[in-house]
Symmetry: C2
Subunit: 204 residues, 2 copies
């Protein structure tokens, strides 16, 4: 049983049936192996999930196209991480629940900090900005995929439930926000939030 194959299979199982359905037993069955065998290669299920998170980030730190402004470089890198998390079902959840120190994760952060050092007044500011960007991406993607998970069957019910709770008398601002809140234009939401951060960076 090869470790990289096991990780790839685990990601495939998550894509097919969601993260709660990823079970050590099911993974073992998909690999034609007994459950105990997995524990010779992964000390714990958390270790497996960390390896999956690391694998998801493959390619995210690849070379940036020439001639990009630093703003465009940040947008490109942020978009890559978002897409990497979106590429697999519950990907943001897997990523948020682990803390990989593998080469993909490290080189992504290294690249992002490198771009930010061109603009930020100090390495500390660049690092803190990188953290803020990643945290925004994780939070945003977590919610985007939560909406995707609901979309399967229960989104309409959730939306009418929300709409019923939105009394314009008690929540005047939410009434004005409802259209945007319930919108599925996550690309737009993401761009808006990221541009806020980038604009804030310009003042440094």
């Amino acid at each position: 049983m090869a470790v990289p194959e096991a990780v790839a299979t685990a990601l495939r199982l998550v894509d097919e049936d969601g993260l709660d359905s990823l079970t050590m037993r099911r993974l073992a069955a998909a690999l034609d192996v007994q459950v105990g065998t997995l524990y010779r290669h992964f000390a714990t299920k958390q270790t497996l999930l960390a390896a999956m998170a690391e694998e998801m980030l493959a390619g995210c730190a690849g070379p940036l196209p020439d001639g990009l402004t630093w703003r465009e470089q940040i947008t490109e890198l942020a978009g890559r991480l978002r897409m990497a998390l979106l590429r697999h079902r519950d990907g943001a959840w897997v990523y948020a629940g682990t803390h990989s120190v593998g080469p993909n994760t490290l080189s992504y952060t290294d690249t992002l900090v490198g771009v930010l050092r061109e603009t930020c007044p100090s390495p500390e500011a660049a690092t803190r900005t990188a953290l803020a960007i990643v945290h925004f991406i994780v939070g945003h993607t977590l919610e985007e995929q939560a909406a995707q998970a609901l979309a399967e069957t229960e989104l309409p019910a959730a939306l009418t439930l929300l709409h019923a709770a939105l009394d314009p008398g008690t929540y005047p601002n939410l009434a004005a926000a409802e259209a945007t809140l319930t919108s599925t234009d996550f690309v737009g939401h993401f761009a808006h939030g990221l541009n806020l951060i980038i604009k804030g960076l310009a003042g440094e």
Copy 2:
């Protein structure tokens, strides 16, 4: 068995032993009740967690002090949400894993959008900005509490592991970032990220 008491007890159990230790059986035992009884009040464990998330946000939308600039109002509201999540062990995780539409959650978002409407050019921009701020807070607090969880025993090991992986040849920027990355000044990190967003808002 009263529902609010059950939610409060569940939060207390999480504070004492962490979220993985919150079990329907353990909660039932703490309430001097059988397991099945819980399912008469909470259709599922997810329902319980949503009620806990809603409870955590109590007071977050309370009236803002007079005389605050909109910048200060945003800082105050964001700080309240962060503190609400930090107040309970694994609070960010509970919050991120649920989607409450209770009054605490709704009025918090309503208040935040309300403040942002003073500054943003449209209700849509205000709503998207509110989303971005909340997503940043969730991502940030998730990592802050992950560090807290590690701090119990395994933080030193994790840090030396990270340090060993940080070859300055392959990750030149991470080498410069290590001090900040491994810092525990989460207050500073949070303020930096939030100020970035607020500064970006000024350009609108």
